[in-house]
């Protein structure tokens, strides 16, 4: 082979490679799957709404809502509560996707003019956080009560030490708390603040041997009777009545509550149920501490059974959903006129979204979106 032929051969190979490289555009698509633009037709069929409709609604709705005088000219943030969009069509679609897209657009471009209330999201963790914060506020409240009693004129101006008996606080089951523990905590705090001004009597002291009785009660700021069914009370009851409330023969789980009954010689793990556990089974609302504002009222009662000193503190605030701050309710409807014949289907879809004033119930503003599609390929929407 001469050099010329070699060069010619190399040149032809190089040229072929270059031309081959120009033959088709580079294919960057993934195998088996095509990535679509969010507004792109998926070529599957169907005559109902598409992703492009949802995105168009969100774009148009958010700009129009933000230009409403009630929102754009308001000096304050407008709070919006939402209600699920009602779907009256024959299609089973999750209407939350539309509401979330609206919320996303408004949160992104609302510039702080509008704020949505987290009605269903993160509520369990929120409750936990608020309850844990209240643990420290309960201690502060007890301290406040103790300080109030210790610094009162009744205690400070007394020529001698006051002898005080302690009765268990009532309705401690509102907190699922042991009454004796609470009384001990309160007694200790008062003693810390009052010093020798107050002498607490032992548990066997006669009422005639003391000057005052310290007692109190919890109550719920609610229209209905609140409370929780405490299994702890059942166990305590069982311990105080050892011959009646340990399980001798029954082994079925439904009529027993589990706990260690230690005061009957041999510890039993299975104890017959008491009324609290029965209520708990019947009424699930009694499982947890009710969400109401719980107030603690403490009294110092004299021997004539008159309260000479009284103090009231809120120990636990009701966890509010925040909906009372809502300026507007946002909700809507999806309705359609559907026709079908010989495998072809047509849908005229009307989507309306509206703002309601929660006080006057006025429908302040309404947005509408219409689309009509016909398809020869029906699909399943979810």
């Amino acid at each position: 082979m001469t050099k010329s032929l070699l060069y010619l051969w190399l040149l032809s190979v190089a040229g072929s490679l270059l031309i081959y490289g120009c033959s088709t555009p580079i294919d960057t698509s993934p195998s088996h799957t095509r990535i679509l633009n969010l507004d792109q037709d998926d070529n599957i069929g169907g005559s109902f709404i598409e992703s492009s409709d949802i995105r168009t609604i969100a774009q148009q709705f958010s700009t129009e809502l933000l230009s409403l005088p009630e929102i754009s000219q308001s000096p304050d943030i407008s709070y919006i509560a939402t209600q699920r969009i009602r779907n009256s069509t024959r299609y089973m679609v999750d209407t939350d996707i539309l509401m979330r897209r609206l919320r996303l657009e408004l949160n992104q471009y609302g510039r702080g003019q509008v704020r949505f209330l987290a009605q269903d999201s993160g509520q369990e963790v929120r409750t936990d956080i608020l309850r844990e914060r209240e643990q420290s506020s309960v201690r502060d409240a007890i301290d406040e009560v103790a300080r109030y009693i210790a610094n009162s004129e009744l205690v400070q101006d007394s020529p001698s030490s006051l002898r005080v008996n302690v009765l268990p606080v009532e309705n401690t089951n509102l907190f699922n708390m042991n009454a004796d523990s609470f009384a001990s905590l309160l007694r200790t705090k008062i003693k810390n603040h009052a010093g020798d001004k107050i002498l607490f009597a032992g548990p066997r002291a006669s009422p005639t041997e003391v000057d005052y009785t310290l007692t109190g009660e919890f109550f719920a700021q609610s229209l209905k009777t609140e409370g929780i069914a405490s299994s702890i009370e059942d166990l305590r009851w069982a311990q105080e009545n050892p011959e009646q409330f340990y399980d001798t023969g029954r082994v079925d789980g439904e009529s027993t509550v589990y706990g260690t009954q230690v005061n009957i010689g041999v510890p039993h793990r299975r104890v017959n149920i008491g009324p609290n556990t029965t209520y708990k089974i019947i009424d699930p609302t009694l499982w947890n501490s009710p969400n109401v504002t719980k107030t603690f009222n403490v009294m110092l009662v004299n021997q004539d059974q008159f309260a000479v000193l009284e103090k009231m503190v809120n120990l636990e605030e009701k966890i509010s959903s925040g909906q009372e701050r809502a300026n507007f309710i946002l909700t809507g409807d999806i309705t359609s006129l559907t026709k079908a014949s010989d495998g072809a289907r047509s849908d005229y879809v009307l989507i309306t979204l509206y703002l309601i004033d929660p006080v006057t119930n006025d429908m302040l503003w309404e947005y509408g979106y219409e689309v009509k599609r016909v398809t020869s390929r029906s699909v399943l929407y979810r």
């Binding site: 010329s4 190089a14 995105r55 700009t63 230009s67 005088p69």
Partner: protein
């Protein structure tokens, strides 16, 4: 002859060697191309045929173009889009047309640098406009970003 072939081979090899770099500079848009873009642009057709094109410009015309602000100060753009039907001897009827329209809003004027020479403050999704033959549609779009007063509307065939 030998030297010519030799030079060609060397040139080809040089191209290959250059292509073996891990990275290379991206191509920049030509300023003169961007400068030529107006506030309403049609997307280039995907296919050219012997008689005419598949260009939507053959059928769609803009009857008016207005821009301003609404009461809340949001920039608003309004366009009249008309399907004028077939205008060629090989196609006097013309089709009904589905368009996808996207509008981008900018803080700065789109000229002289061209709309694509800077980032958009807000970009709508591709919104579908259906035009039967002879129909004029009033396309209206508002921008929630106040101050983004400059815009470019891109009109494409229906995205599929």
């Amino acid at each position: 002859m030998k030297s010519l072939l030799f030079n060609c081979v060397v040139a080809s090899l040089t191209f290959y060697v250059f292509g073996c770099q891990t990275t290379y500079d991206a191509r920049r848009s030509q300023p003169q191309n961007l400068e030529a873009e107006g506030s309403i642009v049609f997307v280039r057709p995907d296919r050219y045929t012997i008689l005419g094109t598949r260009s939507i410009r053959d059928y769609i015309e803009i009857t008016y173009e207005e821009s301003g602000h609404n009461e809340a100060g949001q920039p608003v753009v309004m366009l009249g889009l008309r399907n004028r039907g077939g205008q060629h001897f090989w196609d006097l009827k013309g089709p009904d047309v589905e368009l996808s329209v996207q509008t981008a809003f900018y803080y700065n004027p789109i000229q002289p640098g061209g709309a694509s020479s800077g980032p958009a403050a807000y970009r709508t999704n591709w919104q579908t406009v259906k035009l039967v033959r002879g129909q004029t549609s009033d396309y209206r779009v508002a921008c929630p970003v106040i101050g983004a007063n400059y815009y470019q509307v891109t009109i494409s065939e229906y995205l599929k």
